[in-house]
């Protein structure tokens, strides 16, 4: 236990010490606190930066991704100099520069049912900065089982949600969302896009809630859900109640230990970018190139949104956005062979599912989408 602050720390945290809600005792409390941040991406960046700056004594970072140039539009903890490096190491170095006083633990591994309890039990609170349903349900259940607050934040395009799920005092994530939407109904940020500053707003709100919970000040968002829309600049609050039928925190809970979250959500926790329709459907960019040389009239079906065609396109491809496939199927001939593609292969995989259930059989899914085509065949096209 660290009982007091050094002169340097008093200077560093003087703006906190001036406020009676924090003060010297509050700052010492923060110094003795620990927070686990799941994900060091769009949400994890501002969360970790502000918690480190605030002097949280111990911060754990879980991620096993590598910094990519397309992350830098919003993942401000990383930088151009750390592209290609491990995210947890990139983040640790930035935090250590911001505040050398604190302990930073890094977990360069996926957060799974096997390791989550072991990792999370070390920390006072857990911050959910993930982007997929399996990891969200896992994060929630771990927090419920360990009796710790889960500071929730979620984003999509211009919408954000923030809450504090703390089953000891209020509802958990599953009380509101007992089960995830079926796979494919909600696009990921890699497909749907996200305003870069949005996770900044939402993550900063999460960091605010974390500090309030640790200090025991103010009114945290327990039993409240904040809904933010950046386009309308609207903040709405709704009341959340404990769900008496909640399967993890209700009186008759039947889920008592971590489950297989990928099975529960019907999707892999890894990024939707990498999904395919299954090996039987796949065609690689190189294979497609060879096919087109033999059969230049092969039908190419581009299921991206029309504005994406301005970024890159394959000449001669027919464009029907995924959302319109079901209505516009009559434009396609099920007897004619076709290759379906999107940005990276996941929307086209869903298009194939839809067409397949309507009786289409002669289809192939361009593995890795037009980005793979740009990387392997037509290098004049950009990857996005």
């Amino acid at each position: 236990m660290i009982e007091e602050l050094t002169h340097e720390q008093i200077l560093r945290y003087s703006r906190h010490l001036l406020m009676p809600e924090v003060g010297l005792q509050g700052q010492i409390k923060l110094k003795n606190s620990s927070v686990l941040v799941i994900g060091t991406g769009g949400l994890g960046s501002p969360v970790a930066l502000y918690l480190a700056a605030a002097g949280i004594g111990r911060i754990g970072l879980v991620d096993y991704d590598i910094v990519d140039a397309s992350n830098l539009q919003r993942q401000v903890i990383h930088g151009t100099s750390t592209v290609g490096k491990l995210k947890v190491e990139s983040a640790r170095n930035r935090l250590a520069d911001l505040n050398p006083d604190i302990q930073i633990d890094i977990y360069n591994e996926p957060y799974t049912s096997e390791n989550a309890m072991r990792i999370a039990k070390e920390y006072d609170i857990i911050i959910d900065g993930t982007d997929n349903f399996p990891t969200r349900y896992l994060t929630n259940d771990v927090a419920v089982f360990l009796g710790k607050p889960n500071i929730y934040g979620s984003i999509f395009r211009f919408d954000g949600q923030v809450s504090v799920f703390y089953a000891k005092e209020g509802p958990c994530y599953r009380c509101l969302f007992p089960e995830p939407p079926p796979p494919g109904l909600v696009p990921s940020c890699a497909e749907g896009g996200v305003l870069g500053v949005l996770p900044g707003t939402v993550g900063t709100l999460q960091a605010t809630e974390a500090i309030k919970v640790l200090l025991g000040i103010g009114t945290p968002l327990i039993g409240k859900l904040l809904l933010y829309n950046a386009l309308d600049m609207s903040f709405d609050f709704v009341t959340l109640k404990k769900n008496p039928n909640c399967r993890v925190c209700g009186p008759n809970a039947d889920i008592k230990e971590l489950i297989d979250y990928e099975e529960f959500c019907g999707v892999p926790g890894h990024h939707a970018d990498d999904t395919s329709a299954g090996a039987n459907w796949d065609i690689t960019a190189q294979e497609l190139k060879a096919r087109l040389e033999r059969d230049p009239n092969l039908l190419l079906l581009d299921v991206r949104e029309p504005h994406e065609l301005q970024i890159s396109a394959i000449q001669g491809a027919k464009n029907i956005p995924l959302g319109e496939i079901a209505q516009r199927m009559s434009e396609l001939d099920s007897a004619e062979e076709m290759v379906v593609f999107c940005k990276r292969g996941s929307r086209s995989a869903r298009a194939i599912e839809i067409l397949s259930s309507a009786g289409f059989k002669k289809m192939k899914n361009l593995k890795g989408g037009i980005n793979a085509w740009a990387e392997e065949v037509d290098k004049s096209l950009p990857v996005y």
Binding site: I155, V186, T239
Partner: protein, 104 residues
């Protein structure tokens, strides 16, 4: 008349509209009006049996209709109905590919 707020992921099905004006004395009637105006949104809210999908959360004012009378919850003129979606966005924290999953 009641205002129904549409979250971004579902605006594709309402012609980009963020708010739709609906009529009806209770939630089921308001939703019926919504799906009549925008039929494409229907499968995203209701299952094949015509029941509200479990991941769809509707709030009247501040309150979840699940804590009130479900789709029978009355709505009055000027009430605001909000559709609250499950969104998963955030950082990318991928798990191993299915082949690499630790099943042992």
């Amino acid at each position: 008349m009641t205002t129904l707020r549409i979250p971004t992921p579902l605006r594709t099905y309402t012609g980009g509209k963020s708010e739709v004006t609906v009529s009806g004395g209770k939630i089921s009637e308001a939703l019926n009006d919504l799906t009549t105006q925008f039929p494409a949104i229907k499968p995203h809210l209701f299952n094949e049996a015509g029941e509200l999908r479990p991941f769809v959360n509707l709030f009247v004012g501040e309150h979840n209709i699940k804590d009130l009378q479900g789709v029978e919850t009355p709505v009055r003129d000027g009430d605001k109905i909000m559709l609250i979606p499950s969104i998963a966005g955030g950082s990318l924290i991928p798990n191993p590919s299915p082949a690499g999953r630790r099943l042992e």
